[in-house]
Amino acid sequence: MTAISPAVAPPRRVVRLARFRDLALLPAILVLLLVGVLIDPVFLTATNLTNVMQQQTELALVVLAEALILISGKFDLSLESVVGLAPALAVVLVVPAAAGGFGTGWATALAVPLCLLVGAAVGAFNGLLILRLRLSAFIVTLGMLIVLRGLQIGITGGQNLFELPPSVLYLGSAVWLGLPASVWMTGLLFAAGIGVLGYLRQGRALYAIGGNVDAARAAGVRTDRVVWTVLIVGGMLAALAGLLMTGRLGSVAAAQGDGMIFTVFAAAVIGGISMDGGKGTLFGALCGVLVLGLINNILTLAGVSAQWIQAIYGLVILVALMLARLTTGKAQD
């Protein structure tokens, strides 16, 4: 926590500090690139870097969702369960009973819209509990995390779903213009998010609400409506992430997304998103995702043994954070 909030500093200075925070991770990324090349020249090949990006798309989308929610001063832990439940529910509704479905036999073209709809519904329900019933976002979404995972296991009987319609597999496995479709989509969604948050009134309202919800309301922002929308969008992004993961891994695992939320928070916070709301940028969050992805890739290339990989992974994250702190001189919170 910083003692002085940027709001009291002169406006021009605020802009500059925000830029700094945005770029704080770039030195760390450069160092990681250097280390990667030293460990194995394969690291810098287009194939490998594309792989890294593709492997990080699902995480990136959930981080995008979580970053939007954190900036508007709320919390959503249940996103990780949406990553599993949304594709699972969509799949059981369209595949035949022999493949583990409900036997409803809906058109397979409905699978993708259904999946996104599940995400939106979960976001809307979270919004209902948080905004209408005024429950704590942390506890509500923790409860939802467990309920949704339980629902997925209940619905599928704990089985992995192996037989999937092509429409479900398409987005996560297609290649557009030489790059995986998932990379294009993630890039475009981040660009859209950065645009909305930077240039649209509704987007900037997120910062206002996260910074001081009463002031935002007094200034005429319909705070509940904006936050509700953010939660719904977040749910849909998580559902899309689940869809991409399903396409990439070729099945809906019963534990799909389980434990992912910790990595999501790590990436968001490393990327400069404040847990207290109102601060951070989507570009920073994306850098956070990239840092984690590069570290993972380098550890695999280096062949770090299973006994040590977690310790080294955590240590490298800490070093990256320290590097960001040293190079920008900006205190982190």
């Binding site: 394969v42 792989n51 995390l145 209940g154 089985q159 597999l169 990439r248 890739n297």
Partner: protein, 348 residues
């Protein structure tokens, strides 16, 4: 933070367990009838794995066959704290023997001591507690899994090449046993093969990322050993398909794949020539002998180390703990249609 969060949510998790077991299907539990038959308590280790769900479906019939009354099973969701709570609940509901499969094999010791004090015999399935007394460990020889996979791969590859190994979590005895035995066999028998051991924590996404990276680094990888087909099969096949290297065994580009578990999807993949072999982990025999030994323990029957009447060997683990090491057949294209394989019996 995981632990903290998990324990905070324990109460809510209990609700989730109830939902999960209620909708789980296939559990034919009868309410406690008190018909004089010995009562066996069963704790299932998790609800999200194909292997354990099959096991759960086998147990009621075999309990019936053993002449015991099976209580409503509990599920500890891979969490030793829930397993402790569940065993206490089972005992207070009148279980005379408890069948469990502790995934954290160290932390269960005090619970075993508690059960021993109450004179409740325990049969552990699939895992062997690091410490503490149990009546019988029903388990396939996991070191043999690793060795079978190593020998099959080594021979198929002619003793040279590059093999990727998806290691299970090293905090579980099964992940450790398979990893150690595989590594030992590879280095002594097939020193010409380079092994890339990838840590996965039993997660398909981690395995897929590691394999993708490794294939970029070494495009000439020609073998894969997956320690759990249930979680690794689909991600591996999907990745190889995307890269265009999922080709039949007759093609020189074919990557020889050995899996483990023996779920129906693995057998199907063997028939299609997508993978080459799997070790069929005996879900049916686990259920059969878990209930058999639990009933025997209540009856006061004792067992001695040595060969048994069902193609297995009981070994003494020291301290009076016995382990019945059930056979786990290697399934290849030659015997994949064997009706005795559990993966062929459950359909899907």
């Amino acid at each position: 933070m995981t632990r903290l969060l998990r324990s905070t949510g324990a109460a809510l998790a209990a609700v989730a367990v109830l939902t999960a077991t209620a909708c789980g299907g296939g559990s034919e539990t009868t309410a406690s009838g008190g018909d004089g038959r010995p009562r066996i308590g069963l704790d299932l280790p998790r609800a999200d794995s194909d292997f354990w769900n099959s096991y759960a479906k086998y147990v009621p019939a075999y309990a019936e066959e053993a002449g015991a009354e099976l209580m409503a099973p509990t599920n500890s969701q891979n969490d030793v704290a829930k397993l402790v709570a569940n065993s206490q609940a089972l005992v207070s509901q009148g279980a005379q023997a408890v069948v469990m499969a502790p995934q954290d094999t160290g932390a269960i010791a005090s619970t075993l001591a508690m059960l021993e004090q109450k004179k409740i015999p325990v049969v552990t399935v699939d895992t062997r507690p690091d410490k503490g007394r149990v009546f019988m460990v029903v388990r396939a020889d996991n070191r043999a899994y690793g060795e079978q996979a190593c020998e099959f791969l080594g021979e198929k590859l002619g003793g040279k090449g590059k093999v990727v190994e998806f290691q299970g979590s090293l905090s579980s005895v099964n992940g450790r046993d398979r990893s150690e035995a595989f590594a030992q066999c590879m280095s002594t028998k097939f020193p010409g093969i380079t092994v890339f051991a990838e840590p996965t924590e039993w997660e398909g996404a981690k395995a897929s990322a590691a394999l993708q990276t490794r294939l970029a680094q070494h495009p000439d990888i020609n073998g894969i050993y997956m320690q759990a087909g249930g979680v690794f099969l689909a991600p591996t096949l999907q990745l190889l398909r995307a890269k265009g290297v999922l080709v039949p065994p007759s093609d020189p580009q074919h990557i020889t794949i050995v899996s483990n578990d023996g779920i129906p999807q693995e057998l199907e993949a063997i028939r299609k020539g997508e993978i080459d072999a799997t070790v069929s982990q005996p879900a049916d025999l686990y259920a059969k002998y878990a209930t058999f030994y639990a009933k025997a323990a209540i009856d006061g029957t004792t067992f001695k180390p040595g060969p048994t009447d069902h193609d297995s060997t009981i070994v003494d683990l020291g301290n009076g703990v016995l382990e019945d090491q059930l056979p786990a057949p290697l399934v290849t294209a030659g015997n994949v249609d064997d009706a005795a394989l559990w993966g062929n019996q459950i359909g899907r």
